[in-house]
Amino acid sequence: MKKLRCSVFSLTLAACFALCALIPMAGNAGDQLLRMATTTSTDNTGLLDYLAPAFQRDTGIELQWVAVGTGKALALGQNCDVDVLMVHAPEAELAYVGSGYGAKRTEIMYNDFVFIGPKNDPAGIRGKSVNQALNSIARDKALFASRGDDSGTHKLEIQLWESSGLVVPDRESWYIQTGQGMLPTITIAEERNAYTITDRGTYIKYEDNKKGNPPLIILVEGDDSLKNQYSVIAVNPENCPSADYENALKFIDWIRAERAQKLIGDFTMLGKQLFMPNAR
C-alpha cells in the first residue's frame, strides 16, 4: 500500500518534469521567422525591442536576434546561423561583402561616438580634439578602458590611436582591456574612474540607467572621426543556401523605407534622440 503510494508519487513527479519539457512555447507557429545577429550595444539601447513589433505588424515576420560582439556577429553570418546582420563597422563590413559573405549592404542610421570620463577629468581632455585628448591621456597615463573585443567600437578606437600618432597602448598598465560589450565596459570604467569611448546611443542608455545622474560624463564630442554608421547586411545566399534571403530583403526594404526611418528618428531616451536615420 505504502509502496504503491510512493510509486504513484514518483511517477507524477516525473510526469511533471516531462510536461514542463513539452510546454509549447509562446510562439506563433504560423508566423515566419527572421534571424538577426546584431551587436550588444545596439541591443542594449532597446531599439530592436521597439522596432520588431512594428516590423511584425507590417510584414507578419517575427524578428529574433542574438546580441554578440561585432566579430561574432559577422562569424554567425558566415556560418549561416543567421539570415541578416545589423552592425556598425564599415571597414569590416565592406571586406565582408567583398569576400562574398554578405549582400545588399544598406546604411540605415548613424550616431556618433563620444569620449566619456570622470567628472573631475584628471587628464584634462574636456573640449579638446580627439588627437589632443588621446595624447593627454597617454602622457598622463590616465586610466582608459577599451572594449578590446574587435567590435566596431574597438576597431574605431584603434584607428583613433593610430591617427593621433600614437602606438596602441596594449601593454600599458593604465590601459584596461575589458573584452566585453559597451555597457559592461562603461561599468568597469565607472568603477575604475577611467576614460572610455562609447557610442552615444549606449551612453544615453547608461545615463537613463543612472536616472539622469551618471558618474561618467561626455567630455569630447563632435569630431568628424567619431561618426558611427549602422548598416544592415543580408547573409549571402550564394554562401548560405539555407539562409532566409527573401525575408532578409523584406527587412532591409522595410527599415530603409520612410515609416521605419521615422520610427528610428522618434526613438528617444531621456528626451534625447539616439540614432539619426540616414538610409538613402
Binding site: 516525473a14 529574433q64 546561423d81 555597457l183
Partner: protein, 229 residues
C-alpha cells in the same frame, strides 16, 4: 551594497505583478532544465551503473576520463556544441542553434559526466557483503543488478540533485547555444548575465533570487520523495 536589498524588493515586485519577461525566463529555464535532467538521467544512470558495478578492461581509465569531464567549463562545452550545430557543422541540418532543444542537448552533454560519475560512485560503494547477501538469498545476476540500483538509490538521488543544481545555474552553454533571445531562449541565468552587463545589478540580484526560489522548491520536493521512501 544597497542593490542587494533593492534586489529583494524587485524580486517580490516582479513575481507579484507577473512581469512577463521574468516569467518567460522562468519557464524557459524550467523547460530547458527539465529536458536536460530527464535526458541525462535516462542515459547517465545506466551508464554510471555499468561503470560502477561491472569489471572490465579499461574501467579505471574510463572512470578517470569521466571524472575529468566533470571539470569542463561550460563555455568550452558551448563552443564544442556550437561547432556541431552551426549550419556549417555536421548537425547543422537539425537547426538546433538558438533553440530550446539546442540548449537542452548542450546542457545534457554538460551534466552527463556528473550523473555517470556520481552514480558509478554510489554503486561501487556497495559493500562486498551486498553481493554475497543477495546471492545467498537466491538472486541471479540480473536480479542482483536491479537490486544494486535500488540499494544505491540515495546516491543516485544525490547525483540528480547535483546535476540539477549545475544545469539550472549555468550560463555559458545557454548563452552560446541559446543566444539569449528575448521571449524565446532567454533563461534566468542569461537574463542575469544581460542585466549585470548593463549595470542593472538590482535586477540581476532579483532574477538570481527567483532562480534560487525555483531550486529550493525542486529540492524541497525531492526531500519529500526521499522521506516517503
Amino acid at each position: 551594497m544597497d542593490y542587494i536589498a533593492e534586489g529583494f524588493i524587485t524580486a517580490l515586485k516582479l513575481l507579484a505583478r507577473g512581469d512577463p519577461e521574468t516569467y518567460s525566463a522562468f519557464f524557459t529555464t524550467l523547460r530547458v532544465s527539465s529536458i536536460s535532467i530527464l535526458a541525462s538521467m535516462v542515459m547517465g544512470i545506466p551508464l554510471g551503473f555499468a561503470l560502477g558495478y561491472y569489471s572490465f578492461p579499461g574501467k579505471r581509465q574510463i572512470r578517470a576520463v569521466v571524472d575529468t569531464l566533470l571539470a569542463l567549463p561550460t563555455v568550452v562545452v558551448g563552443l564544442f556544441v556550437y561547432a556541431l550545430v552551426t549550419r556549417r557543422g555536421p548537425l547543422g541540418i537539425l537547426g538546433l542553434l538558438f533553440t530550446i532543444p539546442g540548449i537542452a542537448v548542450a546542457q545534457t552533454i554538460l551534466i552527463l559526466p556528473i550523473v555517470i560519475s556520481l552514480t558509478a560512485t554510489a554503486v561501487s560503494n556497495l559493500d562486498v557483503r551486498f553481493r554475497r547477501t543477495v546471492s545467498t538469498l537466491g538472486a541471479g545476476s540480473k536480479r542482483t543488478a536491479l537490486t544494486a540500483i535500488y540499494e544505491s538509490r540515495f546516491g543516485v538521488l544525490a547525483a540528480a540533485v547535483t546535476a540539477y543544481g549545475r544545469v539550472i545555474g549555468e550560463v555559458g552553454v545557454s548563452m552560446m547555444i541559446g543566444g539569449n533571445i528575448k521571449w524565446h531562449t532567454r533563461t534566468i541565468t542569461t537574463a542575469i548575465a544581460l542585466e549585470t552587463g548593463k549595470g542593472q545589478f538590482a535586477m540581476g540580484i532579483a532574477l538570481g533570487l527567483v532562480l534560487l526560489l525555483l531550486a529550493f522548491v525542486v529540492n524541497w520536493i525531492l526531500q519529500i520523495v526521499r522521506r516517503v521512501r
